[in-house]
């Protein structure tokens, strides 16, 4: 018969409550890991979803995410002609406040030319953008359903398609529109003085400004080599997708890593102390029973097994509760909580180690209990 289980069954209510409480604590720690993963995923989601092998941006900048970048739209054709480039598309990027049916929302507006790189990688519902103007594809995170209308800078845009999981590094949902629409919008949203300057330049094609050209390369082309060719051109800089991802990770993710990492470590430490205390209390509650076991001749392995199994059961059940809590609550979380089997497994390992370490003190104490302690009173 298993003594650890029998004892837990005997005090089931208390054990379940303890597991739930501990589970809540672990759930917070697990969410921290999930939120961190979410920040990483979100930071890279935008650049990944655009499937760019190469980013051509304004010379001397590391745009378009880390720094602002403005280049003439006709650069696209030059980039498209570079050896090794399969396709190139001009995009604009800007965050804006928009009036959605449910209220004001912050969105990341991406303008691109349908049929060229820069559009959403996959459409969840509805369709992609066609030739019709004032249409948008909105990410589900914006809360905009198909057919809804979005008011942006006094223009009305019609949602014809939705995507899933496409957000900017700040968590703002992506809104895709035609490049022309986005350039008009840029003009509308610009301060009055800037608008006049742009209008004055209109004759020389000054309104055809984009933020970046993204290029998709032939499979056998070397991104670094193509980037080098692009860089030699005046007023242009080029970043490979890897460099772009590294930039994003560096700027956004490192800060999050430090903050969330600290929280996670503190929470795990608190969990460890609490687990150790609970196990110690559970063991000392059984002082007399353990003494009795020794008196009737139970070997140390039985005593160690009892404490250790209870510690692992406690940690295991609490962790199952934590995973259940996190996965059932993550949709109502304001930030994306991204947890794969990898993170869940690593965390399980961490909890197991914490339980083992936490029970060491208790095991030591249990082994020191003298059989005659069963006799008193």
């Amino acid at each position: 018969m298993n003594l650890a289980l029998a004892d837990i069954r005997h005090k089931l209510g208390r054990f379940v409550l303890t597991c739930l409480g501990l589970g809540l604590l672990m759930a917070v720690a697990l969410s921290m890991v999930g939120i961190y993963q979410g920040v990483v995923t979100e930071a890279l989601a935008l650049s990944r979803s655009l499937r760019a092998d190469l980013w051509v941006v304004e010379s001397g900048t590391r745009g378009p995410f880390a720094e602002s970048s403005r280049i003439p739209g006709d650069v696209r054709e030059m980039v498209a002609r570079l050896p090794g480039v399969a396709a190139a598309g001009a995009i604009t990027l800007r965050t804006a406040e928009a009036q959605a049916p449910q209220g004001t929302i912050r969105v990341q507006v991406i303008g691109y030319e349908p049929g060229r790189p820069g559009g959403p990688s996959a459409i969840a519902t509805g369709r992609g953008l066609g030739a019709t103007r004032f249409e948008i594809v909105a990410d589900a995170r914006s809360g905009l359903p198909l057919g809804a209308t979005l008011l942006l800078g006094r223009y009305r845009y019609h949602v014809v398609g939705t995507t899933r999981g496409l957000v900017a590094s700040g968590g703002d949902p992506l809104i895709f529109m035609q490049l022309r629409d986005s350039q008009d919008l840029q003009f509308r949203l610009a301060p009055a003085a800037a608008r006049r300057a742009i209008a004055a330049n209109a004759g020389s094609g000054g309104t055809d400004t984009v933020n970046a050209i993204i290029a998709q390369l032939h499979p056998d082309a070397d991104p670094a080599l193509v980037a080098e060719t692009a860089r030699r051109w005046k007023h242009l800089a080029a970043l490979t997708d890897q460099q772009q991802s590294d930039l994003l990770t560096l700027s956004v993710v490192n800060r999050a890593r430090v903050q969330l990492g600290m929280f996670t470590v503190v929470l795990l430490f608190v969990s460890a102390v609490i687990i150790a205390l609970i196990i110690y209390t559970m063991t000392m509650d059984k002082l007399r029973e353990i003494a009795t076991l020794k008196l009737i001749g139970a070997p140390d392995s039985t005593i160690v097994g009892l404490v250790l199994q209870q510690a692992l059961l406690l940690g295991g059940m609490a962790y199952v509760a934590a995973v259940a809590i996190v996965f059932s609550a993550r949709d109502v979380f304001p930030r994306a909580v991204v947890l794969g089997p990898g993170e869940v497994a690593v965390m399980a390992g961490v909890i197991a180690v914490i339980c083992l370490l936490g029970s060491l003190v208790s095991i030591r104490a249990a082994l020191r209990i003298e059989p005659q302690q069963a006799l008193g009173g």
């Binding site: 018969m1 007399r288 009795t292 009737i296 001749g297 139970a298 003298e370 069963a374 006799l375 009173g377």
Partner: protein, 233 residues
């Protein structure tokens, strides 16, 4: 078998040292033969529990010699490497309060002592059940200790002490929690076990009503044996 089952020679036990030292037992000699039921009486603090604990190898003597089943267990140092195994296999201990594990039901409390000895669970339960029947608490086999009456719990505890067929059974006031009728039933049971199993049984008791159930009474006073007398019975 060589010699008596329990042999105590000039056994002493001193608690503490220096000015606060308490001499609980002083050069006690005692022999309990197989099949014998010996009673141990004496005023409070006279060393009865201490003597029992020394024989059960729960506490270490300070001087003298202790042998169990003809084998020297202590003579200045432990001569047995695994005391818990010795207790498990050869000694049954009945506590004053029953000391059943609260999280196991009656039959598992009894069977546990056997499974610790490597017997598989179903065989252990079978023997435990039979023993509980023999002690007339078979009906309460699946009850948790908290739901047992004092007498029932004490009999389950006795079953636990007997389950490994120990050669030596030590009981510290096993009948203190029982009325005199139950106390007599328990004593008759122990006598029967001594006879059937050829065990040596040593029972601490204050209860004069059951003095006639012993083959012999040993009286302790201030850690010394005051008198040994054959019972009238």
């Amino acid at each position: 078998m060589a010699g008596p089952l329990v042999q105590v020679e000039k056994l002493s036990k001193t608690f503490g040292a220096g000015e606060t030292a308490v001499r609980a037992l002083a050069e006690v000699d005692l022999v309990v033969e197989a099949g014998e039921v010996v009673g141990l009486k004496g005023p409070s603090g006279s060393g009865k529990s201490t003597l029992l604990n020394l024989i059960a190898c729960i506490q270490e003597p300070t001087a003298g010699r202790l042998s169990i089943g003809g084998e020297t267990v202590w003579d200045g140092q432990w001569r047995v490497p695994d005391l818990r195994r010795l207790r498990r296999e050869r000694i049954g201990f009945i506590f004053q309060s029953h000391n059943l594990l609260p999280f196991l039901n009656a039959i598992d409390n009894v069977a546990l002592a056997m499974t610790l000895d490597g017997v598989d669970r179903s065989a252990a339960r079978q023997r435990a059940g039979a023993l509980l029947d023999y002690l007339q608490v078979g009906k309460r086999a699946s009850a948790m200790p908290a739901r047992l009456s004092g007498g029932e719990a004490q009999r389950v505890a006795i079953a636990r002490a007997l389950v490994n067929r120990p050669q030596v059974i030590l009981a510290d006031e096993p009948t203190a929690a029982l009325d005199s009728e139950r106390a007599r039933v328990v004593m008759d049971l122990l006598r029967q076990v001594a006879r059937d199993q050829q065990a040596a049984i040593l029972v601490v008791t204050h209860d004069e009503k059951i003095f006639d159930r012993f083959d012999r009474m040993v009286a302790l006073r201030d850690g010394r044996i005051e008198q040994q007398q054959r019972s009238a019975a």
